[in-house]
């Protein structure tokens, strides 16, 4: 029920479930705060948000006072709140004076300087040239919180945002506040690292410079940086990011606000791989001569490729798209290969048995916000904590706020919320589909049940069978509901969780083996290409940033590697074409929901490296199959002509209702390879792609956070 309030003389109606602080913001008043954060629980310990409630004996902490607790005056007029009266100013100045008593005056050497809440608010409420505290300031020992978070605990003002984030959002209660009073310290348990995939967010949350980014420390000042809005491609969620650059270098990556995707969080891999953008870079073309890669010019490299293409036949050629490619270059490569008549195309390096059907069959249809409406969740071979950490935080949020029951088929991992472990055997899917398993009952009774198929299930040799059974479970248990968005009452709970940022775009573009027909036996998938290369049936492979392949046992086909980083692919390549990383080109990426977003260019590619679509366009000319677009705009027009959703950036496809034929035809019925336990799609969260593998920070994280026990044992 809305309540009337007079805030700074302006009468407004505020919902009574809001806090006074939110109501004041609705009225256009700006309330300073340190401990209050919209997405965290209310602590009310910094006292900076004091406002005056006329008639109340003392100023009120607006963050913890709810609108429903504000009663009208005796004569029935609405309560009057002042946010900028002498009382308020004086109260806030007092709070600021207390905060600054123990805060060091080291802004000039502090990484937070320039983007510090305390600095900004001290400008407004600090009493200049006024101090009456002549005792020594408090000094606090710095703490170890892992390879990503640098601590300068003397600066801490004990807002406890980081502690609340770790406990509530990340679900990894590693942080705490020990001691009390002046001796209160934020710490982990006895110098343990903060082992969350979302740990970098505490740096953003910290209103002072107590927690700063360790890799970024002392490198640049916020006002030197140019901001470019972009998209994270370290996983398939498409978190919105801001790439901060200085000159030609990416200095840091921060999340952008997008409630539909990442709220305001970003996972550690997306936030900290930027040092990988400056390592192991391919900055000139190479051609293998006498078994050795030697630098070459672009035209020489193209000539070598052209000679090889001429010497072979299209059915002995193959092309594979890697995990980080943008839609534009996938389309360019697809068009080029189609023109050359190459049937062996694939984008599923991990061998996932997905794609080929209509869009809902391979998308995360529930959408990320839709997860919050779900009340039962079945994870199949999926570890969202590693495959999409920010989505995992969303699932945790849904679990915290509602009656969400979760079960998981696959390796038991700590997901930060309790999940019923249904074992690693795939047979349980049968039981779930025919309703004999107790959790099938839970799904059937749920109003909005959902399932998530992860890479651990789809990348198995029997992935198609699992897909078939997942579709069966979906049909049997009401996971596929009426058309429309969840808000309109529609529901579709069938979800595929991809881990590669390029995957959905590649599937949309049909970068898949050519279907079998009467004239041809059809194209080979990745496994088929590898096998063919071993046998010598494939002797030309074009890799567009594909580094997750077992190239060492593929015989000796002629390999063209186009990509940004020297990784597995480059080592086995015969011709290397240096491409641009995602911060160096404008590119469209579709996330696992099918939402298309644009990553914008923040810096230029290094050396002679070029944007990937332009390389393919130039190569097509040399191969005599000139692609019909000369600019990126032309290419995008062609892309949108094929796939209209690529012209609607940021929008998620609307579930248009169930077509039984789609779900009946999904996957193939067959027998499980039951003796193989359900595995995980990702072996090491921090090292999943060439950029991450080039990053020193990610290597440190992997060593210290995931393998610290092994290291200790090795040392002993």
């Amino acid at each position: 029920m809305p309540r009337k309030l007079i805030i700074d003389g302006k009468e407004i109606e505020a919902e009574d479930n809001l806090t006074l602080l939110q109501a004041c913001e609705q009225a256009g008043a700006e309330i300073p705060r340190f401990c209050y954060h919209e997405r965290l629980s209310v602590a009310g310990n910094c006292r900076m948000c004091l406002v005056e409630w006329v008639g109340a004996p003392k100023p009120q902490a607006s963050c913890s006072l709810q609108v429903k607790d504000i009663f009208p005056n005796k004569d029935g007029t609405p309560a009057r709140i002042n946010t900028d009266s002498p009382v308020v100013r004086k109260a806030r100045e007092g709070v600021m004076e207390f905060l600054l008593i123990n805060h060091p005056l080291d802004c000039p050497i502090c990484d937070q300087g320039g983007e510090c809440d305390l600095q900004d608010q001290a400008m407004g409420y600090g009493r200049a040239a006024f101090h009456r505290f002549h005792e020594n300031k408090r000094a606090v020992e710095d703490k170890y919180m892992g390879p990503l978070i640098k601590t300068q605990m003397t600066r801490c003002i004990q807002c406890t945002r980081c502690v609340r984030f770790a406990t509530e959002i990340a679900g990894v209660p590693d942080l705490g506040a020990t001691g009390r009073g002046e001796d209160m310290e934020i710490t982990t348990y006895l110098e343990k690292a903060f082992s969350s995939e979302l740990s970098g967010n505490v740096v953003d949350l910290c209103p002072v410079g107590a927690l700063t980014s360790k890799p970024y420390s002392y490198t640049s000042r916020p006002w030197e940086l140019k901001h470019t809005e972009s998209i994270d491609i370290m996983d398939a969620q498409g978190c919105n990011i801001r790439v901060d650059t200085r000159g030609r270098a990416v200095m840091r990556i921060l999340p952008r606000l997008n409630d539909d995707i990442n709220e305001e969080w970003l996972h550690d891999k997306g936030r900290h791989i930027w040092d990988g953008l400056g390592r192991q870079r391919l900055d000139r073309p190479y051609v293998r001569k006498n078994g050795k890669l030697v630098p070459a010019s672009w035209s020489d490299a193209f000539a070598v490729i052209a000679a090889r293409v001429k010497a072979t036949t299209p059915d002995r050629m193959a092309a594979i798209v890697g995990d980080l490619a943008a839609a534009e270059e996938i389309k360019a490569l697809k068009d080029l290969m189609t023109r050359l008549g190459v049937p062996h195309l694939d984008c599923r390096q991990d061998g996932a048995k997905i794609g080929g059907g209509p869009r809902p069959a391979y998308l995360f249809n529930t959408t990320i916000t839709g997860v919050e409406a779900a009340d039962a969740l079945l994870l199949i071979g999926c570890n969202p904590r590693w495959e999409a950490p920010v989505l995992n935080a969303r699932i945790r949020k849904a679990w915290l706020n509602g009656p969400l029951k979760i079960a998981s088929v696959g390796a038991p991992v700590d997901l930060t919320y309790p999940a019923e472990q249904l074992g690693t055997g795939v047979d349980v899917l049968n039981a779930l589909a025919d309703g004999s398993h107790p959790f099938a009952e839970v799904l059937r009774n749920a109003k909005r049940p959902m399932l998530i198929l992860g890479g651990g299930a789809l990348a198995r040799p029997d992935g198609a069978v699992i897909l078939h059974h997942a579709a069966r479970i979906a049909r049997e248990t009401g996971i596929i509901g009426p058309a429309g968005t969840p808000a309109e009452g529609g529901w579709i709970g069938f979800n595929v969780l991809h881990t590669a940022a390029s995957r959905v775009a590649a599937l949309d573009l049909g970068f898949l083996p050519a279907p079998a027909s009467e004239e041809s036996p059809g194209g080979r998938d990745v496994a088929g290409i590898v096998e063919g290369a071993q046998k010598g049936e494939i002797n030309f492979i074009y890799l567009l940033g594909a580094d997750e392949l077992p190239l060492e046992n593929m015989g000796r086909p002629f390999v063209v590697y186009q990509g940004s980083h020297g990784d597995t692919g480059a080592n086995y390549a015969d011709v290397i074409l240096p491409g641009a990383a995602f911060t160096e080109k404008d590119g469209l990426y579709a996330n696992f929901e099918g939402r298309v977003q644009e990553a914008q260019r923040a810096v230029f590619p290094p050396g002679e490296a070029r944007e990937d679509w332009a390389i393919l366009r130039a190569l097509s000319d040399v191969l005599g199959q000139k692609l019909p677009y000369d600019t990126l705009a032309d290419l995008r027009r062609a892309l949108v002509a094929d796939l209209p959703q690529y012209g609607r950036l940021g929008q998620v496809p609307v579930w248009e209702g169930a077509d039984p034929a789609v779900w009946n035809a999904l996957g193939t019925d067959g027998v499980f390879t039951a003796d193989v336990p359900m595995g995980q799609a990702i072996a090491d969260y921090y090292l999943t792609n060439p950029i991450a593998r080039a990053s020193k920070v990610m290597a440190d994280c992997s060593r210290e956070l995931l393998h610290s026990d092994e290291n200790k044992q090795a040392a002993e």
């Binding site: 004996p57 009266s85 209660p173 590693d174 705490g176 001691g179 982990t188 006895l190």
Partner: protein
């Protein structure tokens, strides 16, 4: 007070004795299911009674027992000064130095502790028997100054009295807890001076007139409903 940290030297392990485990379980049972972590203070307290101080293995054991993250137990252990984070003597003396005790001469008591135990608080005496610390009010201000030795309060002390008590304990005796000048509880010296009529304590002698009439009972102390909320004046504003 300095930042409270765990002691550098920690024992290898900790386990509640069977009897203490039963007490901990009793505490856990007092809270609704799923809220067993509310028993954390009691569990640590029982652990401290058993070991004398709170050890790292104890914190971890309690955390596992109550299904809490280690850090949450550490927070509690470092927050409350009643938990000793390093070894204490067999007899731990807590000297109250809050204002009433201080006015009544707690400085002499502290001096006695320094002389008989050790120069610094929180350090164990040479024979390992004693340790002492200054604490805030222990709630016996009427009998100030006072100390708490383990769980026994000794009140109405002077420096010499304290020394005598410590000596006696060192000899293995158990001095009588409570007031050291022969007072009963916190009665005045030499017995009560007011409320001495027997009728107060003997119901048979009590006056048996009529109780308040209804009208009288409803007659509330005047002024309560007329009392106005004080109006806020900005500090510094003209009064």
């Amino acid at each position: 007070m300095t930042a409270r940290r765990l002691h550098e030297e920690q024992p290898a392990g900790f386990a509640f004795s069977e009897e203490n485990m039963a007490r901990v379980n009793q505490w856990i049972a007092k809270f609704p299911p799923g809220r067993q972590r509310s028993a954390v203070i009691s569990a640590l307290w029982i652990g401290q009674e058993q070991e004398g101080w709170v050890t790292k293995p104890m914190i971890e054991e309690v955390a596992k027992l109550l299904d809490m993250p280690y850090i949450r137990v550490l927070e509690v252990a470092t927050f409350y000064t009643m938990f000793h984070l390093k070894p204490v003597g067999r007899h731990h003396v807590q000297v109250c130095t809050t204002t009433p005790c201080w006015l009544r001469g707690s400085d002499d008591v502290v001096k006695a502790c320094k002389k008989h135990i050790s120069d610094k608080p929180h350090s164990v005496s040479a024979d390992g028997e004693f340790s002492w610390e200054e604490v805030e009010c222990l709630g016996a201000c009427v009998n100030a100054p006072m100390v708490l030795i383990n769980s026994d309060p000794y009140e109405d002390l002077t420096g010499e009295k304290t020394e005598e008590i410590l000596e006696a304990i060192r000899r293995g005796e158990t001095p009588k807890p409570g007031s050291q000048i022969g007072r009963h509880a916190s009665e005045p010296e030499g017995g009560p001076t007011t409320l001495t009529e027997r009728a107060l304590y003997d119901p048979t002698l009590r006056h048996s007139g009529p109780s308040l009439s209804d009208d009288e009972a409803k007659n509330v102390t005047p002024g309560v409903e007329q009392r106005e909320a004080p109006t806020q004046k900005p500090p510094g504003a003209a009064t």
